[in-house]
Symmetry: C2
């Protein structure tokens, strides 16, 4: 197999797209052909001045110049349409994270990819992605036990937006934080049936006028679904401090599997991530799976793949050295 | 592909062999044909009364009755010979753990397996095995960083034996324990270049006559290579307490990868195991790879494979559900 440079296109330029641009720069076996956006290309400012930006509509013209597209659109409405559409022309990789719809998404990509003879790697990143792999592997090697997922400490976009909608809030972020005691108990195998609200607390940092503090705190803490069932703390901070400390999209979490391999012994398996930047890490994972999509297709594979279908050797830039 | 029961043979009945017998019992898609031993079969007492024990020499007669052999011999002298020999007749899986010789072992198994048309999965378990996978995956997704391995808290056979050789020692175990501060710093990305002695301390539990305590402690702590470079603690305990608390072969450890996915952010990846029983957990992993060896061979694959070559879906008893 010839050892060629893998030519990548990025589709969509938000947090993940920017992370992919940076991650590709770190790979010796890849080159970035360009970013494809639905906005006016002149409105998009890439990190590197020599990165090309093209219009989404031009994509069909790059089929002999690009080996894999990294799809960085949103899971809610972009990817369900883009992934099946673009896999008709390219090997693709996406980070589709709507857990309830992954099976549907897999079928749509599978149908289109089988016809086109391309590979579509879906739902990779950290969750879904590395966390899914660890949930599955933990269950395989510790068949008699419980699986515990904790998210955080991490920024929740949805909850931050909910806080920002409260009257008087100027800036706000919300971090989801595992409850330390519950995490410790999970390591002992206790609490696999607990709800997300039993496992996590919510911590908000809010910028507002002092006169509104009491009302805002009350409104946040009683917001149904979002906050009411959770232990919630609200910190009021200055705008300067907000801009200094709360611009990173940190995230991470824990997957714990604990139980027995046979009756009389207790085994604990734990995987965790503590990420300063959720989108930059996710993009780094996407880039590794872009390599796999390319190699699998070179080996004659076609169709939709998940993280469960791909050996680690396909992700590595130096498989001969691992 | 027909959904048949996978027929397993266990070769060698020590700690791992016993663990394999127990682990197979937990699998709905497997059946144990028997244990093959180099000792007199009547000298081997399996866990379950209906488990058959055969002589190693009889192995050639079971080629149409067994799908995969799980090799539970020792890495020092059994596996280098057994794995290439038995893969001429059977799909095999082993837990060969002599890190420096894995490449040689791979070549020997590869040569024999390619000729016989069988699959030989080598060096699976926890280390090598799950730890190797996490070292590789951590380096792929965090390309710019350091990898830190800590072992323990766990029983070291070699060090326990070294303590037992000290005059006057009646019983002894030695646990390797990660140094907490160094572990914490690894999570911050500090200390990837530290030696094993900088990362671990050694804790011994010894049964002896009180008059010998001082000398024994001194001899242990000054033993070159084994203990001298390490922070070592020696606890003298009663025989009763020794038999009560120190019969389990507990082990585990941590693989930490920390660094940057791109310049301005810090990402930490951590995998850990806390095992009450090292051999029972290792056997549980071996059993999952026995399933993979069988399935890979059914799909027409042959040759030597490591954990890097095998997708998780091949390990699962329910691949359609993951
Ligand atoms: N699996 C995982 O572990 C994981 C982790 C994190 C995220 N994700 C998934 O990744 C998806 C994308 O995340 P993201 O943080 O990159 O989302 P985002 O920043 O909102 O970007 C999504 C899309 O919105 C468009 N966009 C970005 N900035 C814009 C702006 N200023 N004005 C108008 N449009 C803009 C871009 O498309 P155009 O350039 O075409 O306009 C971009 O591709 C999420 O939906 C999530 O599902 C998965
Ligand atoms: N990859 C990993 O994570 C990992 C983890 C743990 C261990 N390992 C590897 O697994 C290997 C086996 O470990 P183990 O703890 O099962 O070793 P073990 O108990 O010493 O057994 C090794 C072999 O010795 C023979 N044996 C056992 N008990 C005996 C007895 N009472 N008298 C005479 N012979 C006896 C057995 O062969 P016969 O029945 O043919 O006599 C057995 O297969 C180790 O060498 C290690 O390299 C790997």
């Amino acid at each position: 197999m010839e050892n060629k440079i893998i030519r990548i296109g990025i589709v969509g330029y938000g947090n993940l797209g920017r992370g992919a641009e940076l991650a590709i720069e770190k790979q010796s076996d890849m080159t970035l052909v360009g970013i494809f956006t639905r906005r006016a290309p002149s409105d998009v400012q890439p990190v590197f001045t020599n990165t090309h930006v093209y219009a989404y509509e031009e994509l069909s013209q790059y089929q002999d110049k690009i080996d894999v597209l990294i799809l960085c659109g949103g899971s809610a409405s972009d990817l369900p349409q883009m992934s099946p559409e673009l896999v008709t022309m390219y090997n693709i990789v996406d980070s589709f994270d709507n857990h309830a719809k992954i099976v549907d998404h897999l079928h749509h990509v599978q149908e289109a990819a089988t016809k086109s003879g391309k590979v579509g790697v879906i739902s990779v990143g950290w969750d879904p992605g590395l966390f899914s792999m660890n949930r599955v592997l933990g269950e395989i090697v510790i068949p008699d036990g419980g699986t515990h997922t904790f998210w955080g400490e991490g920024l929740s976009q949805g909850h931050s937006e909910a806080v920002r909608r409260v009257t008087g809030v100027k800036h706000a972020v919300q971090y989801t934080v595992p409850i330390e005691d519950v995490l410790e108990k999970a390591r002992e195998g206790i609490g696999a049936d607990l709800s997300a609200a039993d496992r996590h607390k919510r911590v908000c940092y809010v910028v507002a006028d002092e006169k509104d503090y009491e009302r805002i705190e009350q409104e946040i803490k009683t917001m149904p679904d979002y906050f009411a069932p959770y232990e919630t703390t609200v910190h009021f901070i200055s705008e300067a401090q907000f801009l200094k400390d709360h611009q990173k999209m940190k995230h991470g979490g824990f997957v714990i599997r604990s139980g027995n391999t046979s009756s009389e012994n207790k085994q604990a398996y734990e995987f965790s991530l503590a990420l300063d930047s959720n989108p930059k890490f996710t993009a780094s994972v996407l880039v590794a799976y872009a390599r796999a999509a390319f190699k699998l297709n070179q080996f004659g594979e076609t169709g939709a793949k998940t993280a469960f279908d791909i050996p680690l050797s396909f992700l590595s830039p130096n498989p001969e050295k691992i």
